[in-house]
């Protein structure tokens, strides 16, 4: 187990190095001079060159890269240009809010996805399976922003049932009830696509497992249908785990449209705002943190996978 884990961690390191190089290059090709935007249009050339030197932007690109990655690894994410504060608390607060939204959406997606997938697999040939299949295909295709706007129009501004923006009420807000009221609509918007994907994957896994010999043998031995289903479910666990990891990772970086529309103060909204303000350190940190979370989730999934299924450890 330990050799398996260390092998997986060793495999993740080159990926993370590659990620950091891609982020660094992407930031370097962003048009616009960060120095000019820091000092404003009235700055003197001397002041500009002094700040360029102080920030190390006149050094060779590989040196800039190693200096940046050195700071990043030590947890120093620099200062936000637009907000004039340290990036780390900004990004971590936003990440925490995204994580809350993501976990809520993941729970919704799993509940709906497993239900739809199970119906589609176990009621094959019946009308309920066809409906389940149609719902999951539809839900995969729904753009986050379309459904988000529909929900706001019909369930927030139209009826006033739910708030249409933010995470807590500005006045008298706070607490679990308030958070719940605010998270329902963005949660549903974010959950639709993963719910459809989970439903389709779960359907094909259940069909595969139900056609295995051990199911026939249990039937022959006269086990109750409920017991058989329980055993079948047990055999879908490894695949479920993989799906869970993928979808959680997808949600972490994929809720940017939902966050923008619902003004949810998460990482997606922060990155979007920083893009409009050309706040490079925040964009860098935001993208790096979500990629890191993505890789970490995959590592955890692999470890859990190896725990429940000894075959993958080989």
């Amino acid at each position: 187990m330990i050799t398996f884990l260390s092998r997986r961690i060793a495999a993740a390191i080159p990926i993370l190095i590659g990620v950091s190089i891609v982020v660094f290059i992407t930031i370097k090709i962003i048009p616009g001079d960060p120095i000019a935007s820091l000092l404003g249009p009235t700055s003197t050339p001397e002041a500009r060159s002094e700040l360029t030197a102080r920030l190390g932007l006149n050094r060779a690109l590989p040196i800039q890269y190693f200096s940046w990655i050195g700071h990043t690894v030590r947890g120093d994410l620099g200062n936000s240009i637009a907000k004039q504060t340290a990036v780390r608390p900004l990004v971590f607060d936003a990440f925490k809010n995204t994580l809350i939204l993501t976990l809520f959406a993941a729970i919704l997606a799993f509940a709906a996805g497993l239900l739809l997938g199970a119906i589609a697999a176990l009621r094959r040939g019946k009308i309920s399976a066809a409906i389940s299949n149609a719902i999951s295909l539809f839900s995969i295709s729904v753009p986050q922003y379309s459904i988000a706007l529909l929900l706001i129009i019909y369930l927030a501004t139209g009826t006033g049932w739910f708030p249409s923006a933010g995470m807590y009420n500005a006045i008298g807000g706070g607490g679990w009830g308030d958070l719940f009221a605010h998270i329902v609509l963005p949660g549903i918007s974010a959950a639709l696509v993963p719910a459809g994907i989970i439903a389709r994957m779960f359907r094909s896994v259940v069909i595969d497992v139900m056609s295995m010999d051990f199911i026939d043998s249990m039937r022959a031995r006269g086990l109750s249908e409920r017991k058989i289903l329980w055993h079948a479910f047990h055999n879908t666990m490894p695949t479920l785990l993989t799906i869970a990891g993928l979808q959680l990772g997808y949600l972490l970086g994929g809720v940017i449209f939902v966050e923008t529309i619902f003004a949810w103060p998460g990482l997606g909204l922060l990155v979007y705002q920083s893009i409009t303000q050309r706040d490079l350190p925040v964009i860098q940190a935001g993208v790096i943190v979500s990629a890191l979370a993505f890789v970490l989730i995959n590592l955890i999934v692999d470890a859990l996978h190896a725990t429940i299924d000894p075959r993958v450890r080989a």
Partner: protein, 294 residues
């Protein structure tokens, strides 16, 4: 001589799955979806014949007319532009940002996947591990970062989308190629002395094509959704041009006063996305492609 042998083997290899699929029919839902896509394409092509209004210049006296106003079937936006006209013209960039990134990433991704699948262990490792780096990013975020880095504009969002779509296409092509590597007809082609590139393009490519085409069809819907999303965030096509995502972003400020106007582009993107996914799904069962890769 090798050439004739190649053709003969390729023909039988392709003929076998076709014989199996001849019994299958394209599901009705896929035919309807194909019809919907055809209608959208025709509306986009013939936009100038279907409307007399300009997509970019409006009349400020006719601002924010509701849906169903005579002369403005789908209403007008905040600048008095006819929304139906903007929808018709806007279908052009929306379709293009769906098709072009998929065509580019489909070609490059398939080529990379073929090279990785047919190549040595080292080649495969180098290509697939490099693509893994792009897998470590959430796709939407990477597209947004690239589009932001390149600056707004429709060609930049096409590039951003092509980049994020290459790795998944390559992965599908590589895994399909891997399944064929030890097939008898590939061994036979190898034994007959055919060059690796000839085997890759004449034997392997026709056999992995169904899986790749099915996968890419569904990606078109995704690409339309992402491209409109980039425009929605102000990273795609620049105003005053008409594009569905940009229209959502324009009309969003009237969500409290004229919400139904906002629904027009939002639902159009939804319909286009559903249509391409239903078509892809229908093609999948028609061409008998395994569903795991979705």
């Amino acid at each position: 001589m090798t050439a004739t042998a190649d053709v003969g083997i390729a023909a039988t290899a392709v003929a076998a799955p076709q014989a199996a699929t001849s019994k299958r029919r394209l599901p009705l839902s896929a035919k309807i979806a194909g019809g919907v896509i055809l209608i959208i394409v025709l509306l986009a092509i013939f936009a100038p014949l279907l409307t007399s209004y300009s997509p970019t210049v409006g009349s400020l006296t006719d601002r924010l007319q509701p849906i169903g106003t005579s002369g403005h079937l789908l209403g007008t936006d905040g600048q008095g532009r006819d929304i139906l006209t903007r929808m018709l013209y806007g279908a052009r960039p929306s379709l293009m940002t769906g098709l072009i990134p998929v065509a580019v990433s489909g070609t490059l991704g398939t080529t990379l996947g073929l090279i990785a699948g047919m190549g040595s262990k080292f080649t495969r490792g180098a290509i697939m591990r490099t693509l893994d780096v792009f897998y470590a990013f959430p796709a939407v975020l990477l597209a947004i970062a690239i589009a932001a880095a390149l600056g707004s504009g429709i060609s930049n969002s096409v590039i951003a989308l092509a980049v994020i779509l290459i790795p998944p296409v390559a992965r599908v092509a590589e895994s399909e190629t891997g399944r064929l590597r030890s097939a008898d007809f590939i061994e036979a082609a190898n034994a007959s002395g055919a060059r690796k590139s000839a085997i890759a393009f004449r034997q392997v490519l026709p056999n992995i094509a169904p899986a790749v085409v099915v996968y890419c069809t569904a990606l078109i819907g995704l690409s339309i959704v992402y491209a409109a999303g980039l425009s929605f965030l102000g990273l795609g096509i620049s105003p005053p041009k008409a594009e569905w995502g940009l229209m959502i972003s324009d009309l969003q400020q009237y969500i409290f006063t004229q919400p139904q106007l906002l629904l027009v582009p939002a639902i159009a993107i939804l319909i286009a996305s559903v249509a391409f996914n239903v078509l892809g799904d229908g093609l999948r069962s028609y061409l008998n492609v395994r569903s795991e890769t979705a």
